[in-house]
């Protein structure tokens, strides 16, 4: 579908367009929120907030960026707002650091490690890592989403990886 036409439908408040948009992006929004906050308990509320914010502000949207880029930006901002309000979130994340146990499947162990490693990062580094490693975005798209220069994306990823590697070597 032509994005311009789709944006027009959203601007008109077309409920079907809202639904199509959510169906298309809700999984990604959930993934970002979860990997950002590490908590399942309030994803539903944050995800709702994200879509409501996007629909309410759609009249301000210009086609100089893509709708998905904009959605991801709103999602990350909501996550940051949320974490700002609840500073304890990182503590919960750190609790998931676990040592290898034979009764835990490798997949879950990796997931717990992944959450713990993400928790070692600042919000800004975490945003870049999530967009790259979980959403598989290109550096260009990450730069557009976060409104930062491409060179900074590279540096931030480099540093975030270095930091996570050190954390991993220190027994995570």
């Amino acid at each position: 579908m032509e994005e311009k036409e789709f944006v027009e439908r959203l601007k008109r408040g077309d409920e079907n367009a809202y639904r199509e948009f959510m169906a298309l992006y809700k999984d990604a929004v959930y993934r970002i929120i979860y990997s950002f906050s590490g908590m399942a308990s309030e994803i539903d509320d944050i995800a709702q907030d994200v879509f409501i914010a996007v629909f309410r502000k759609i009249h301000k949207f210009r086609l100089d960026s893509s709708l998905s880029t904009w959605l991801y930006r709103v999602t990350i901002n909501k996550c940051k707002d949320y974490l700002r309000k609840r500073r304890t979130a990182t503590v919960e994340l750190n609790d998931s650091i676990i040592s290898p146990r034979p009764d835990i499947p490798e997949r879950l162990l990796n997931e717990a490690r992944g959450k713990a490693l993400l928790a070692t990062l600042s919000a800004k580094f975490r945003s870049v890592v999530i967009l790259r490693e979980i959403e598989g975005m290109s550096y260009d798209d990450i730069a557009r989403t976060l409104k930062i220069p491409l060179g900074r994306v590279k540096i931030m990823l480099f540093r975030a990886r270095k930091q996570m590697k050190e954390a991993a070597l220190n027994g995570m």
Binding site: E15, Y18, R19, M22, A23, K26, D27, Y30, R31, I33, Y34, S35, A40, I43, D44, A47, Q48, F51, I52, A53, F55, R56, K57, K60, R73, V74, N77, K78, D81, R107, N110, E111, R113, G114, K115, L117, L118, K124, S127, V129, R132, E133, I134, S138, Y139, L146, K147, I148, G151, R152, K154, I155, M156, L157, F158, R161, K162, M164, K165, A168
Partner: protein, 144 residues
């Protein structure tokens, strides 16, 4: 290609962000250098671990909930008459309704003004950028 340069580019290589020329230079270095190859493996492993973070499934009816929440909190002015005292004369009522509309509109627009979307706090200072090369050196050569 030197190890220093190779190590600084491994992430971009893994992410498929290098041009073909740099990619082939890096590849031939990797064939000859077990140190850099080991570093690439650890970057890949890290990436796999992060990618394994899976969110819980989106609940059924998510779209319905959003639509419902939107219509609940949307600025609908039909509520005004319902709590207007019935003894108000019409002109007063009209004026009050107008005042409420204005106040409501103002409140609504304030409440919904976009949150701070500037990623200024994400920016790395120029000084940090200058340090970058030195840092790459330290990371990989500090204990060699």
């Amino acid at each position: 290609m030197e190890c220093k340069r190779c190590l600084s580019l491994l992430g971009e290589y893994k992410d498929g962000e290098l041009d073909t020329e740099t990619t082939s230079m890096l590849k031939s270095h990797l064939e000859a250098c077990p140190l850099c190859l080991a570093e690439l493996r650890s970057i890949n492993a890290l990436s796999e671990i992060i990618a394994s973070v899976k969110s819980p499934p989106v609940p059924d009816g998510f779209e319905d909930n959003v639509i419902r929440a939107m219509s609940k909190s949307a600025p609908r002015f039909s509520f005004i008459p319902s709590f207007m005292p019935v003894f108000f004369h019409r002109p007063v009522m009209a004026l009050s309704a107008l005042a409420l509309l204005l106040a409501g509109g103002f409140f609504y627009s304030r409440q919904n003004s976009p949150p701070e979307e500037s990623y200024a706090q994400l920016l790395i200072s120029d000084a940090e950028l200058r340090d970058f090369d030195g840092e790459v050196m330290d990371i990989f050569y500090g204990d060699i």
